[in-house]
């Protein structure tokens, strides 16, 4: 089995640590953002005052749907184009 996994000659462990850090921090940012936006646009308001955009409450659109879709796009871009090393 090859020791060097990336073009720069990083070890498999170093690469996996880098991936873990990226994935873990993006996950935490996603969770905090989603909760924060939902709080400001949704939790903070009385039931009658919710605005509706494209058929959904605005707090759902900005707090859940958009962050979720962005997270999926990030996962795809990271998985397909950014992660290095295709060793067995």
């Amino acid at each position: 089995m090859q020791k060097t996994a990336s073009k720069q000659g990083k070890s498999s462990y170093a690469l996996s640590l880098k991936e873990f850090k990226f994935a873990f921090s993006s996950t935490m940012i996603y969770i905090l953002l989603s909760c924060a936006i939902s709080y400001v646009l949704g939790y903070n308001k009385p039931a009658g005052e919710i605005t509706v955009i494209w058929g959904m409450p605005s707090w759902v659109l900005f707090g859940v749907v958009i962050p979720w879709v962005l997270m999926v796009l990030l996962t795809i871009v990271y998985g397909f184009f950014i992660m290095e090393g295709d060793e067995k």
């Binding site: 996996s16 994935a23 009658g48 397909f80 992660m83």
Partner: protein, 482 residues
Amino acid sequence: MQTSPVTLMVFVSYFVVLIGISVYAYYRRKNAKNFSEEYYVAGRSFGPWIVAFMWATSWTSGGTFIGTPAVYYSMGWTALLWQAGAGVLGMIGMLAIGRRISRFAAEHNCVTLPDLFVERFQSRLMGIIAAISILVFGIAYMVSQYIAAARILETFIGMPYLWAIISFAVITGVYTCIGGIRGVAYNTLLQGIVMLGGSVIMVNAAGGLPEITRQLAQIDPNLVTPPGPKNFLPLPTAFSTFFILGVAVMAQPHVVTRIFTVKNMMSLKRAGALISLITLVWFMSLFVSALAARALIPQIDVPDRIFPTIVLKYSGNFLAGILLSAPFAAVMSTVSSLIISTSGAIMKDIYQRNFNPNASEKAIKTTSYIATVAISAIVMVLSFNPPKFLQDIVMFAISGFAASFTVPIILGFFWKGGTPMGGLLSMISGFVTLLVLYAQPNPNPLGFNPLVWGLVVSAVVMVVVSKVTKPNDSTFMAKIFE
């Protein structure tokens, strides 16, 4: 409720196909050199699509089609925030730990989650405790799945509950025994496509979103505003749920072992991306279908029956047969993954490692089959008296796995400082914290779920204990962290 013959025929032929696939997988396995490698991880030979679908259908469960739509239906738009943890599944469940775990597993011949801990921490005791935890929570999880399956059979075919449980147990047990992980995988690929197709069709049937939201607001303004009806999801609970229905995936024994079946890094990266996309489409389409159902049918006695009810009411006969199989697909793929994981826990992690390290291929084969059948039987008996809240058992089992294994996985494999005692105590303390909190009258101190507390306690214990106890041999550590 009356189910048409066409619907039933489609439904039954689906099962015939499933069994056929298992038989095919059995013949593939017969010629394999190493039974365990083949039965549990399919010789580590799968590409991205099959891994992604297997992974996603192991994670989504009977709950996804029975308990989850009931939550969407009862709680309205806030339930989407409850579900949003799913956004991180591909990222945290596959890309974050995939390279490290798959490579470590391949280099150390790990086929089960406890194997990983035994090899990393060089602690057989840790393997036993992990196996016990897998048995306890795995059986609870499977009970919930059997009940979900029986509920579907009840609603669709009008089969009595007891018979529904027995027939489901027999079909799933046989098909897992015959097919092993390869059978599960082939079936899952088919089932995954069925689920995807089914959900997409439901969205079409659902009608326009603005109209649905307007109707919901009329039924109850809380259906469009957080925290939802009956104070469903206060913000700390929302935060906690991201962990249960998202981050926890990295510590589910039946999902993590999917990573072991990956052929190479290329497949792993693609699978991670595919998982996030597949689950987005599944959950969003199910969610919109359930919201539409609330607008169309404002009242239902048993919310757990909402998915079967809308399928029978709003789709044609042929389509209903296919859509009916979607929840079954989810249940069966989860149950068979869990059966493989729990029987692996008994067979490999307890019996072979501690009592009979030199067991012959034949003995391993026989005990694997016996363990598989025994577990199916135990779960079947436990399901005879269904508890009330299906989704609660699922969440409890998921949290149990996550509280025990998340920290040992993260800090064991990405931090050089973890010691065997640190790993062992962090696993036990996470598990115990969860059980103790669930036994309290108020299980959510400060509004945060027991899992969040379990993770905090487990992480603190790992770091503190590791600082003061004996590390693994330094040459060994240098080798696995090079």
